[in-house]
C-alpha cells in the first residue's frame, strides 16, 4: 500500500535565511560541561586562568568529547545552571576580554580541494577532535551518527531487519522540520562553500555512493556546486509539517523506512546530517578551528525576529535582548520550534551545541490542553505522518495500559505533535505518549 505524507499545514515561514546579524560577545559566557546528552566533560582549566578562543576547556575520555573556549578571556569559576533541556549542569563562567584571540591551530588543516583525498579514518578523527555535536533533537555526537552500526545487534534479528549494513546514502538536510526556526536553511544559504567541503568529507567518511542534498529554495551557488560534485539536489516543500523530520526525509528521498522504535537511519544504510553540522565540519577542516559560534534563529514574539550569530555559551536572555526583547508579556520561551521545542524556565540557561533556535510566545498566544475525553473523531489518524492511531494510544496511556499501547505501536511515534495540533478536544497527546514511552522503558 502506498503511504501518503499527511501531517498538517503550517504557513509560518522562517526569517530570511541570507540575513544574519552579528551579536557582540556578552560580558559573561556560560560554557556548559555537557554539550550533548550523556557526555559530561571534566574541566581542564581552573579559576583565574586566561584562555584563548578554540582552547580546550573540558574533555572526556569515553565517550570522547571536547569542549572549546568560545572566545578569549578569563575563567571566573564553576557554577551550576540548567541546560536548555531543563537539566542541571555545571558550567564554566568565562569573562570575555573582547579581543577574540584564537589559539594556534594544532590539528590538521586541509585546503578545500584536498578534502576528497583524506581517508575516512582521518575525517572521523577530525570530527572527534572538533567535538562536533550532531545538531538537533538527537543530541548524539556527529562521529557516532556517521559510522555504520558495527555490531550486528541481537535485537534486530527478531524484527527481520537486515543487520550491520554499510552506509550507502548520505543525506545533507538543509531544511528544517519545525518552521519558523530555520538554522539548517540559514547554514546552507550563508555558507554554501563550507557545506560542500563538509559534505565531501562526510562522503569520504561514510563511503556513501549516493549523496543527496535536501534543500528548499537553494541558492544558485549551491545548486551549481552540488551538480559539479555529481550529487543530487532534492527540493522539499516546507508548507507541510513535519515533512523534514529525519525518518520522513529518509523515506521521501530513498523510500526506505527507518524502524523508529528500535533503529536509526544508519540501520537502513542512510546517514542523515543537518546542514549546520556539515558546515561546522567544513569550516573545521579548512580553518582548523572548532565551531564556537552558531547562527541561531530567534523568532516568534520578539521585536526583531531574525537570525543572530551568537557564541556558544551565550545566555538565552542575551539572545532575546539581541533580538529586540519580548513583544508583549512573555509567555513561553522555547528551545526549538513551536511544535517540538522544549519550554525553558530559566532564561539564564546557556546556548549549547544542540539548540536549534529560540521561539518566543507571548502570553496571549498560549493555548492550554484539557482533560476532555477523546471524542473519537479520527482527526489525529488523518494527520499522523507515520500512520498510527494516536487516539487509541493516548487512551491506553491515559489509563495506565502501557503494554496495550505498545501493542498498537506506541514506540513508533515520532512525537511530531500533529495529533495534538488537530485534536478538537485539545487532549495532551504528546504528553500521554511520552508518559507511555517513559514508563515502558523504565519498567
Amino acid at each position: 500500500m502506498m503511504l501518503a505524507l499527511k501531517g498538517i499545514r503550517r504557513k509560518e515561514l522562517g526569517p530570511n535565511p541570507t540575513k544574519v546579524v552579528d551579536v557582540p560577545c556578552p560580558q559573561k559566557l556560560l560554557v556548559a560541561l555537557r554539550q550533548q546528552r550523556a557526555v559530561t566533560c571534566t574541566p581542564k582549566v581552573g579559576e583565574g586562568d586566561r584562555v584563548l578562543a578554540g582552547q580546550v576547556l573540558a574533555a572526556s575520555e569515553d565517550p570522547p568529547g571536547y569542549i572549546y573556549s568560545p572566545t578569549s578571556g578569563t575563567i571566573e569559576g564553576l557554577v551550576t545552571t540548567v541546560d536548555p533541556h531543563g537539566q542541571e549542569v555545571e558550567a564554566l563562567v568565562l569573562a570575555g576580554d573582547g579581543k577574540h584571540e584564537w589559539v594556534e591551530t594544532a590539528g590538521l588543516v586541509a585546503e578545500a580541494h584536498q578534502v576528497g583525498e583524506l581517508g575516512p579514518e582521518k575525517v572521523l578523527e577530525r570530527v572527534q577532535e572538533l567535538g562536533l555535536v550532531r545538531f538537533g533533537q538527537v543530541g548524539s555526537s556527529l562521529a557516532e551518527e556517521i559510522t555504520p552500526p558495527r555490531v550486528p545487534a541481537g535485537y534486530l534479528a527478531h524484527t527481520g531487519t537486515p543487520v550491520a549494513k554499510p552506509i550507502d546514502t548520505l543525506i545533507v538536510k538543509a531544511v528544517d522540520h519545525d518552521p519558523p526556526v530555520n538554522p539548517n536553511q540559514a547554514a546552507a544559504h550563508t555558507q554554501p562553500e563550507a557545506l560542500i567541503v563538509g559534505a565531501k568529507a562526510l562522503e569520504v567518511a561514510t563511503g556513501a555512493e549516493r549523496v543527496v542534498v535536501v534543500a528548499w529554495q537553494a541558492p544558485d551557488g549551491l545548486k551549481g556546486a552540488v551538480e559539479e560534485a555529481g550529487w543530487e539536489l532534492v527540493e522539499l516543500n516546507p508548507g507541510r509539517y513535519p515533512f523534514a523530520l529525519d525518518p520522513l526525509v529518509v523515506w521521501q528521498v530513498t523510500k526506505r523506512e527507518v524502524p523508529v522504535a528500535y533503529g536509526r537511519p544508519q540501520d537502513v544504510g542512510v546517514a542523515i546530517v543537518p546542514a549546520v553540522s556539515v558546515v561546522e565540519l567544513g569550516l573545521g577542516l579548512t580553518t582548523g578551528r572548532p565551531a564556537v559560534e552558531r547562527v541561531v534563529p530567534v523568532v516568534g514574539d520578539v521585536h526583531k525576529p531574525g537570525l543572530y550569530r551568537l557564541l556558544l555559551g551565550t545566555p538565552v536572555e542575551s539572545a532575546i535582548e539581541a533580538a529586540g526583547g519580548f513583544k508583549g508579556a512573555p509567555g513561553k520561551v522555547l528551545a526549538g520550534g513551536p511544535m517540538m521545542g522544549l519550554g525553558l524556565y530559566d532564561l539564564g540557561a546557556p546556548l549549547t551545541a544542540e539548540v536549534e533556535g529560540i521561539y518566543v510566545m507571548s502570553e496571549e498566544r498560549l493555548k492550554s490542553f484539557t482533560d476532555h475525553p477523546c471524542i473519537h473523531c479520527g482527526a489525529c489518524v488523518r494527520a499522523c505522518p507515520v500512520g498510527l492511531v494516536p487516539a487509541e494510544i493516548a487512551k491506553f496511556c491515559e489509563f495506565g495500559r502501557f503494554e496495550d499501547a505498545a501493542q498498537v505501536n506506541l514506540m513508533w511515534c515520532v512525537e511530531c505533535g500533529c495529533c495534538a495540533y488537530v485534536c478538537p478536544a485539545r487532549r495532551p497527546m504528546v504528553q500521554l505518549i511520552r508518559l507511555g514511552k517513559y514508563r515502558l522503558l523504565a519498567s
Binding site: 500500500m1 527481520g160 537486515p162 549494513k165 550507502d168 525518518p247 520522513l248 523506512e257 524502524p259 523508529v260 537502513v268 536572555e317 512573555p330 509567555g331 513561553k332 520561551v333 522555547l334 513551536p338 511544535m339 517540538m340 521545542g341 519550554g343 525553558l344 524556565y345 530559566d346 539564564g348 510566545m361 502570553e363 498560549l366 493555548k367 490542553f369 476532555h372 475525553p373 471524542i375 473519537h376 473523531c377 479520527g378 482527526a379 489518524v381 488523518r382 499522523c384 507515520v386 500512520g387 498510527l388 492511531v389 487516539a391 487509541e392 498498537v408 505501536n409 513508533w412 505533535g417 495534538a420 495540533y421 488537530v422 485534536c423 478538537p424 485539545r426 495532551p428 504528546v430 504528553q431
Partner: protein
C-alpha cells in the same frame, strides 16, 4: 536564576483552531439548509417539533450536569446538535410530548449514562428515535403531504413497502427537492447533500463514510432490483432503469441525513480510513436490505445502530505504520 516566570508545557505549543464547539457550530450551519426546507414545506408544525426537541435536550443536559455535580457541558453545543438532529428525524405531525420524551431519552439514556460526549457506544439520537418508534409507532408516522398539513398520509417509503410497483407513481424530482411526505429534516435531500458536502470539505466528516453509504445503496439497490420479479414484470430493463431504484432509496426515508449527519457522528463512527469506508458500506447495504426484505419500514436508522456496535471491531483495521514495512536496501 532570572526572576521572570515562564509557562512550561509539553509540546506542541501551537494548537489548531478547531474545538468541539467549533465543530458542532459548523455542523449546525450545515444542517441549516435542510432545516430550511423542512420549515418551508411543513411550516409551524415543524418549527414546534424542532424547538421542543432542542429545548428538551439542552434543558435535560443542564439538569443532568447539575444533579451529577459536573461542570455544565452546554458550551460545546453538542446538546443543541443532538436536539436539532432528533427534531429533524421526527414527523411534522408529532404530538408535543414526543420530542420532549425523545430529547430526554437521548440525553439521559443515550449519552449521559455512559459518561457524556466521547463515551457512548451508539448514536444517542438514534437510540431515542428507536425508543420512540418502537413505543409510539402510530405517532411516529404522522407524515403530512406538503401543502396539506394536518392530514396524515403514508410516506413514499411506506407505500413502497406495501407494493413495490408504487415506485412508478412518484416523481423522483419531487423526492429530491423534498416535496413529499416525510420527516421534517430528512425530506430535503438536496439540502442535506449540500450541507454534507460542506462538512466533507471542511474535513469534519471523513469522506469515506458518506461515500460508503451511497455506494452501498447503489450496489444493494442493483442487487435487489435485478432479483425482484415484480420489477421485471413491470418491464424494467437495463442499468439505467434499475438505477432508478437507487435514486429512490437515496431520496426517501432518512438515508441522506444518515449518510451525512447521523452515520459520521464522531463518537460512534470508526476512525481509520478503511474502517470508515466499510462502516459506510455496511450502512448503505443494510438500509436497502431492510427496506426490501425486512419488517421495518426504514432500515437506515437501524443500520447505523447496528454498525455503531461494529465500530470497535472496525477500528482494528489500522493504517500501515511507517517503518514497519519491508526495509529494502
Amino acid at each position: 536564576m532570572s526572576e521572570r516566570l515562564l509557562t512550561l508545557s509539553p509540546p506542541p505549543h501551537l494548537l489548531g483552531g478547531r474545538t468541539i464547539r467549533s465543530m458542532n457550530l459548523e455542523t449546525l450551519c450545515a444542517m441549516g439548509p435542510a432545516v430550511g426546507v423542512g420549515l418551508y414545506y411543513f411550516g409551524l408544525a415543524a418549527l414546534k417539533v424542532l424547538v421542543l426537541a432542542v429545548a428538551s435536550t439542552t434543558i435535560t443536559e443542564y439538569l443532568v450536569c447539575r444533579i451529577t455535580g459536573r461542570a455544565s457541558t452546554l458550551g460545546d453545543l453538542h446538546a443543541v446538535v443532538m436536539g436539532l438532529l432528533l427534531g429533524m428525524i421526527l414527523p411534522p405531525g408529532a404530538p408535543w410530548w414526543l420530542p420532549i420524551v425523545g430529547g430526554f431519552f437521548a440525553v439521559v439514556v443515550g449519552k449521559m449514562l455512559f459518561g457524556g460526549l466521547g463515551n457512548y457506544p451508539m448514536n444517542p439520537v438514534l437510540i431515542a428515535w428507536a425508543a420512540l418508534a418502537l413505543s409510539w409507532a402510530h405517532q411516529m408516522s404522522a407524515f403530512y403531504e406538503p401543502g396539506a398539513l394536518g392530514e396524515v398520509v403514508a410516506s413514499p417509503l411506506m407505500q413502497f413497502k406495501d407494493d413495490i410497483a408504487a415506485i412508478e407513481s412518484f416523481e423522483l424530482w419531487d423526492l429530491w427537492i423534498g416535496n413529499s411526505a416525510g420527516a421534517i429534516g430528512a425530506v430535503g435531500t438536496w439540502a442535506l447533500a449540500i450541507g454534507g458536502v460542506y462538512l466533507v470539505i471542511r474535513r469534519i466528516v471523513p469522506w469515506q463514510i458518506p461515500f460508503g453509504v451511497l455506494l452501498g445503496v447503489v450496489v444493494m439497490s442493483l442487487v435487489a432490483g435485478y432479483l425482484d420479479p415484480n420489477l421485471s414484470e413491470m418491464g424494467w430493463e437495463g442499468l439505467g432503469e434499475h438505477l432508478t431504484l437507487a435514486w429512490f432509496h437515496m431520496a426517501t426515508g432518512g438515508l441522506m441525513i444518515v449518510a451525512f449527519f447521523l452515520a459520521p457522528e464522531p463518537v460512534t463512527s470508526p476512525m481509520t480510513p478503511w474502517a470508515c469506508f466499510l462502516y459506510g458500506l455496511g450502512i448503505g447495504c443494510m438500509t436497502v436490505i431492510v427496506r426490501t426484505w425486512g419488517a421495518p419500514v426504514d432500515g437506515a436508522y437501524y443500520a447505523v445502530l447496528v454498525m455503531n456496535a461494529a465500530t470497535p471491531l472496525l477500528d482494528k483495521i489500522r493504517p500501515r505504520v511507517l517503518g514497519k514495512g519491508v526495509v529494502s536496501a
